[in-house]
Symmetry: C2
Subunit: 333 residues, 2 copies
């Protein structure tokens, strides 16, 4: 079998009997090459299956037509955004590169690391998913989804977390619940703060006092939420309903409840936030607040493309949230 080394531009040049500069011009459609040469080179490229190395190309040209979406890890939330961004990218001539920093490293500051590693080379712009530290960088265009701080100078996409939290709380209230527990999100994220504020506001508006022993921090992840949920439900005077700040925590709460011999929704009502696909697969199917995640991903990509193109536009996009009723809540008798 023939061993095929990676085909590089110099291979094409040699085979076609021209210089690499000429090949580069052909590849990039530059002006100033005779038609016959163009044809010949193109033929060789085809024949050899040449494809420019993204690494080398970007190192030199600082323009790659690749957009990056930087996440800590690929979990349900970020992959939903990815689907939306991918669909939107198909409408443009950009390709999408998603980079997961991994949770092993410093865990904090991954966004700065990833951005530093990829920007300047490799990508023309980046979408940061739930970044904690964000400094205005120069050179790279960046848009943030659900950032640490609310809409500031940096272009952002988010959804109406406050209204969504009220929706969730009011739903439980309407069902007759009064002892409502709250599993908070990542304290370093604005969304988590807003969801808690929405919860408290809705409780206050209904004249119900929040029992602080029923409030825990879940951290938005399954692993970090299960402990707090267990604690919450192990209490003597446990809640009849729990509003978890995201679906993963809500599912973890259901798991914790089950392990304590409690059945959802019979012994405990649980409502989540996000409407990631997993919420529908959970058992029972989770009642939750929907964030239009795919749409948010798509909006982020479009905003980024506009930014790069220099289009004047609103750099903050906020999308609405809505209640999705499934089977994890029931009226308090």
């Amino acid at each position: 079998m023939e061993i095929r080394q990676r085909v590089k531009m110099s291979d094409v040049a040699r085979t076609a009997g021209v210089s690499v500069a000429t090949v580069s011009k052909v590849v990039n459609g530059r002006w100033g090459v005779s038609q016959s040469t163009v044809d010949r080179v193109q033929q060789v490229i085809e024949m050899l299956g040449y494809e420019a190395s993204l690494g080398a190309q970007s190192l030199r040209s600082h323009r790659t037509h690749v957009l990056g979406i930087l996440v800590a890890e690929f979990e349900p939330f970020s992959t939903e955004l990815l689907k939306g961004a991918s669909a939107a990218a198909d409408q443009t001539d950009y390709e999408l590169l998603a980079y997961a920093a991994g949770t092993r490293g410093s865990k904090v500051g991954w966004e700065r690391r990833s951005l530093a590693r990829l920007s300047g080379t490799l990508i023309d712009g980046a979408i940061l998913v739930t970044p904690t530290v964000l400094e205005a960088k120069q050179g790279v265009h960046v848009v943030a989804i659900d950032p640490h701080t609310g809409p500031s100078g940096m272009p952002t996409i988010d959804s109406d977390n406050f209204a969504g939290a009220q929706l969730a709380t009011n739903y439980l209230l309407d069902l007759g619940h009064r002892r409502i527990g709250f599993i908070g999100g990542r304290p370093d994220l604005e969304s988590a703060r807003l969801r808690e504020v929405g919860f408290r506001q809705a409780m206050a508006a209904a004249g119900v006092t929040v029992d602080e022993t029923l409030v825990r921090v879940g951290g938005y992840r399954t692993e970090t939420a299960e402990g707090p949920a267990r604690e919450l439900l192990s209490q003597a005077n446990r809640p009849t309903a729990v509003f978890a700040a995201n679906d993963l925590s809500a599912i973890a709460t259901v798991t914790a409840a089950n392990s304590l011999g409690l059945s959802v929704p019979d012994d405990l009502s649980v409502i989540g936030f996000d409407n990631v696909p997993e919420s529908a697969m959970a058992s029972p199917p989770l009642t939750t607040i929907k964030q239009p995640l795919q749409q948010m991903g798509a909006e982020a990509l479009r905003l980024l493309v506009d930014l790069i193109a220099g289009v004047e536009r609103d750099i903050h996009v906020r999308l609405p949230t809505e209640l999705v009723v499934r089977a994890s809540c029931r009226p308090l008798v």
Copy 2:
């Protein structure tokens, strides 16, 4: 506000009063630098927030500790794989880079293009999702998930498509259905072929003749499946049940049915394949055959890591499929 250009190695070198060569040695933990220099350089790196450019680094060193997962686009199937691969990557010291070629381009041959663009530089190995053309490359380690051809010389991960298709068909048969339609997948994929063979075999085993007017090609995508599904259901003597080769086609079939005034499962039973999260969110929730997608992604990543490490092992992994009963099928009365 201070304008911060991208910090490069030369900046660190200048600030620390050493050469870039020394900085490089420190960064890469090379031998032969005095402790005092190491300390000083590390301090400057910290201070300036230096991070090596992936592009430049990989161009030179051909070792990046980054693994690529190459897909045509980010849709439910590939993102499930991504979740599994991401979780598995967290157990290693590799980071994950997912690259979507986009469906605009040649549509065929994206795997060759992406691989050529990223390999040799940027990534140490790649996972190819549903690749059509796959030649044994040299230099880059590659594992394929659900490839064009069955397990051959190339390392592959797949699930038991044949058994799964039989499961689906037998389920419909057991429900009393006899006029069963089939919406096929992408003819260029081995999985699609096996699902059709499984279907036909199960039908034959039950002594039921396949009505060829009830067989269509759906192409695995929503957009490509809706037309064929509509055609199928518009026929005078339409089927009472449809086995769609994947969930997206199944959901498209339900949509087509609804638009023709047919209700699922009352007027038509539909079963899918894959068990992507979307199948649970569909209405009605879709009965389907589960492929352990996240597990497949994780297996692919582990196989790739083993390959790179030179571990001797089986390079073909096949995982089992199983029936997931939800609400889109009912017995024929």
